[in-house]
Subunit: 340 residues, 2 copies
């Protein structure tokens, strides 16, 4: 169990100075061919690798970024991580993953803990609780310290920073329009409570589509789900009490559960009722019937977010200008078996 070898040890062993060793390894022209080779050979023999922490301290950058997400077990977030990771790795950056568990406090703790030199920047999607509280002081804090932040998916307009989103409103509009074009009149909406930014936007898109097509909006057809553990009966009531012909769900779980409940109630999908989901994840693909859904490319979002962050990081301090972009990732409707 030999410890990692350091410059100092090499220097001592070869009876030269630390500077000489360092320069030799970086192929400095200050060093004679002779010593350079000697040092390099020795370093190779002992498998010398510079200590990252020391480098971080010296350079005041850690070549590490952090992504904070509400839940990793949501397939969408996993794909975003995947995208972030690839871009980061390609550029020599590491990725620390933090889970807020939808908790404001964990989000704050994670950010404070890492904003002290450990990382160079954040990529994040807000927790539900944070969105509900509308308290973003922890984010402004790190931004004020000069640390770049990129928000994606669940964002807020209260913070000035780079953002990567999809046009939730438009995507929901299109999905609803798709159903309307198929001739459906009684289209239900399964959505989240309003403080979840993306849920709200999708709800608005749905309503807009109805209005645009002069369909009357029926409050009874809109179900706002708060507790994601036990909402089957909400859906059951919806289906039993309304003579609906289509359902638009703002996420996969809602969609697949709707199908399940419908089946149980003797309605078949898509012949009796059509269903559209949101987020093209594993469930939509493998459910049977497979689910028509708004595809939200998580990998692309992650890649874009990472690129934007790295761009900010690579800019020299002096020609840094405060200018923030919001990138909109295209969505598309993937037609599968759950709609007719």
């Amino acid at each position: 169990m030999r410890r990692k070898v350091t410059l100092k040890q090499i220097a001592k062993e070869l009876d030269v100075s630390i500077s000489t060793v360092s320069k030799s390894l970086r192929d400095s022209s200050e060093i004679s061919e002779d010593t350079r080779q000697k040092v390099q050979a020795f370093a190779k023999l002992y498998n010398y690798k510079p200590n990252n922490i020391a480098l971080s301290l010296k350079n005041r950058k850690s070549k590490t970024i952090c992504i904070i997400i509400p839940e990793i077990i949501h397939h969408f977030f996993a794909t975003v991580i995947s995208g972030v990771e690839h871009v980061a790795n390609e550029n020599g950056y590491n990725v620390i993953v933090c889970l807020s568990d939808e908790s404001f406090d964990k989000e704050v703790i994670n950010m404070e803990m890492l904003a002290n030199g450990s990382i160079d920047g954040f990529i994040m999607s807000l927790s539900k609780e944070t969105q509900q509280k509308r308290d973003f002081h922890h984010i402004t804090e790190v931004i004020n310290q000069g640390m770049p932040v990129v928000m994606f998916d669940r964002i807020t307009n209260d913070i000035l920073c780079d953002k990567v989103i999809i046009d939730d409103n438009l995507a929901a509009f299109n999905a609803t329009q798709f159903l309307i074009d198929k001739g459906f009149k009684k289209i239900a909406l399964l959505t989240t409570v309003d403080y979840v930014s993306v849920g709200k936007l999708r709800t608005e898109g749905y309503i807009k589509a109805l209005k645009t097509n002069d369909l009357k909006m029926d409050e009874n057809l809109i179900v706002k789900i708060e507790d994601t553990d036990n909402f089957e009966n909400q859906i059951e009531n919806l289906i039993l009490n309304n003579d609906l012909d289509a359902i638009f769900a703002v996420n996969e779980i809602f969609a697949v559960t709707a199908i399940k409940v419908a089946k149980r109630l003797g309605k078949s999908v898509p012949s009796d009722v059509s269903v559209i989901g949101f987020t093209d994840g594993i469930i939509s693909k493998y459910s049977s019937p497979s689910i028509t859904t708004v595809s939200q490319n998580g990998i692309k979002m992650g890649e874009k977010a990472a690129k934007m962050l790295l761009e900010k990081l690579e800019i020299e301090e002096e020609d840094y200008e405060e200018q923030y972009k919001t990138e909109v990732i295209e969505t598309e409707l993937v037609e599968r078996e759950s709609t007719k």
Copy 2:
């Protein structure tokens, strides 16, 4: 955009030495009540937080661990991360996530990159390619440097280190036995190629169950799937050419695909053919019919792995003894709709 304040700046501002500031903030008894309060007030005002990198360098530990997994979009691995993350966070550790993408090279690069001070230990599951090559030099390398490694799920016996696994053989045996007990005689197996350690073990468990029950093993009923992108026709052939009554699949994707193909061929699940999967993920739960499966608790595995790693990390250097454990996580059969 003010930079983070350092001890030095506080010292200068208050006209005391750096040592005094440091001691004051750590409530050292060496410092008078007076100065201590003065310093603490000032530090609070300027929101002083010690620089993690500097601490890491000084203490020669980063309070960060790394988990290397083949793919994050596999739900099982995502749950493991979740487990690791929670235990790590509770103990003041951060988690760096690396994806090997099933590639040997990426695994090696990631490990070499991080083994230079950035992290204190590894938790990992081998990539397919690594398992195929049986080249583990990068792992022995870091272990020899005194860095603890915990392997989980896809492990190898060629390396001495802590491990967390399930009893794949036994779990597969039990699943098969479950089908046999139901009276099925022609039970097919959908498995991976043999170099994937867990796939091989599960295959062995299946075979053992057949033997134990004096059922003859039919090579035609065993399908080894290499390419996970396009294997539907393999399954189709299996079903068409054999009069089988049950299928045991070594993962979710295989199971749900089998159900899909069976349905397409006019067989209904479970009345015509029963299906059991492996890994209790989202798909099994939300598929319809929902899938009877061997539940492999990823969260628990992650938690256990993290605990084992942290235990090693918290041990003082001197009373470190090389002793490795292999923890076996219990599995259970979750009975759902895909078996009758």
